[in-house]
Symmetry: C2
Subunit: 342 residues, 2 copies
DNA sequence: CTGAAAGCGCTTACAG
DNA sequence: CTGAAAGCGCTTACAG
């Protein structure tokens, strides 16, 4: 059925070693021999058997992308960038959803590891990633983290400029005359804390006192989009607009915006007249709402691209027995001002 | 470093064949021997090397999901259902984006095939899938199609009840008193034609003449969400509301709705007062617009789940040398009426 | 019920 | 520059 390297060798009248060397350009082979081999390959329509090669080389060419919440399209966009980059190197990502559940994440990593993955890219569900120490001890593979900063496991890391993004969002609101500005993060984690830090810096620099009541965090559950709208973000939003004189709201990510904006809509809070609104994460539907929603745009595809680059570098380092310090890279964000904050 | 089956055999004082048989339950082994093997496995923390096993068995446990347009979240939701189902069988999907380009699709299939994929699930970019005949000739693997009906290659197929969904959408509009109802499909393909057929049946059954000017198709390009809004769908929408006395619009899918709804918003067409609106595909953001948008909901996760089931069945059939006719399965849709059509 | 052995299709020191 | 040969870690007839 499918030709093997042996048959190519026979037809070309050379050894399998030579065929392999021609195919992989691992050794110099005389031009005439190369020609004979290539002709035989063409004639037999030979294609290398990757199963055999991977087995032999002890690699799978698969990279596990373990995502805290795949229903968040932000991560799917990261996956797009990742796939594009990895395919250039002959690698493929395996996507797997942790559903914001630490145990699921650990189970996923364990499964992938047992399935002979070559490396990991992880958007962790919680900060504590010390479990990786034990799991990767016997079987060390490179890890690159994205979007959320891990604790307990030192490795490469790609993050957005969260603090600066938060700062830009709030400076924008302040420039529009707002002073009573609230922040709602989707959950209490390093990423949201960074965005809140930018929020605070903008206030402090502008001489506006920071009011602890104005800073909220949700639970960051992985819920179907439909249920999101009645979760804690919705409640925080309602509480803020009902019981506090806030005139502007900065929401920490796209998922939280679903809850917050649903609340404003249902309670007929006029945006921006009653409440100016801006979110982290740009999405196509932010222009289809009335009014269109302002955002601090992240660059998820770029994050994925870079993570792919970095993990490949590590893979090369392993082969070349090079040792480098873990790296932290930040990706810029950009203010996109729309009617909701104008 | 990592223990092999040989070491387990030595420690348990049995042959590697016996260890393999215990591990895979391929043969009866005496309880005492089983115990000895299991103890050895535990002691050495042995894990089977999937690379070796896959090579030996000639399978990769990977299934290629070749998607016409991954930026359409509908397909990402299918992927979610697919992944869940396949993981039960020990398989994993490899996602790959054809970007609505036939050549890219063919190239993707070729690449995956060279990468030793065990089967395909394909959402084809165009109807003509005859290229598969040649490519799978030397290396036949099961194929299941989803969402779009192929021509030139007979295989299993999972589709939504498009005709019925279109019918339901339009009957809903008619029940609200509309007679001048337009349809815009994202592109001219079998799926959109089916939805248009439901549209026509509803009109005919209600004694409303079918007006050819009211039926439009876009180009179905894979564009970034932001550019979609100024494509042909936008133009068709503008033409319809400007030059024809239409009072209701039925849009063929979620992507087209981005273009159509952007147009209505920009031209301040009041929905539903000036124009009632309903789309195919439900999405979370349809409730965040003003007004909320009615939809014929598909069940993408269920489609993915079923496609996974069917492809697995085929894989089993191949092993058991069973031959079955290609199967076509339809998944129900559901009317979700919101303010845009009320 | 158990084991010895062949072999899947490659890659890679090693020898010449 | 080329080839003979070992071997990666399994599974699977086959023999007993």
């Amino acid at each position: 059925m499918k030709a093997t390297i042996k048959e190519v060798a026979r037809l070309a009248n050379v050894s399998v070693a030579t065929v392999s060397n021609v195919l992989n350009q691992t050794k110099r082979v005389s031009p005439e021999t190369v020609k004979r081999v290539e002709d035989a390959v063409k004639k037999l329509n030979y294609q290398i058997n990757p199963l055999a090669r991977n087995f032999r080389k002890g690699e799978s060419k698969l990279i596990g992308f373990v995502v805290c919440d795949l229903s968040n399209y932000f991560f799917q966009d990261i996956a797009l960038g990742l796939e594009k980059r990895l395919s250039r190197y002959g690698y493929r990502p395996i996507l797997i959803d942790s559903k914001e559940n630490k145990l699921t994440e650990i189970e996923n990593v364990r499964n992938l590891l047992a399935g002979s993955i070559d490396a990991f890219i992880i958007a962790p569900t919680t900060e504590d990633c010390s479990y990786l120490k034990l799991m990767l001890e016997q079987n060390p593979v490179p890890v690159v983290f994205v979007d959320r900063k891990p604790v307990g496991y030192e490795s490469d890391l790609v993050l957005s400029s969260n603090e600066q993004g938060g700062y830009d969002a709030v400076m924008h609101l302040i420039s529009r005359g707002h002073k009573d500005i609230a922040f709602i993060g989707s959950r209490f984690d390093s990423t949201m804390v960074e965005r809140a830090a930018g929020y605070k810096r903008a206030l402090v620099e502008s001489g506006i006192p920071v009011n602890a009541n104005y800073i909220r965090y949700g639970e960051g559950l992985s819920l179907p989009h439909k249920e999101l709208r009645y979760g804690s973000i919705y409640q925080h939003t309602l509480d803020l607009v009902t019981n506090y004189p806030v005139t502007a709201l900065f929401v920490g990510n796209n998922m939280a915006t679903i809850g917050a904006y649903s609340c404003l809509k249902e309670h007929k809070i006029r945006v921006p007249e009653d409440l100016a609104f801006i979110t982290f994460d740009d999405s196509f539907w932010l222009t289809l709402t009335t009014p269109a929603i302002s955002a601090i745009a992240q660059q998820p595809e770029k994050i994925g691209d870079l993570a792919g680059k970095m993990v490949y570098q590590r893979l090369c380092d392993v082969k070349n027995k090079v040792n480098r310090e873990p790296q932290l890279v930040r990706i810029d964000t950009m203010l996109v001002a729309r009617t909701s904050s104008m």
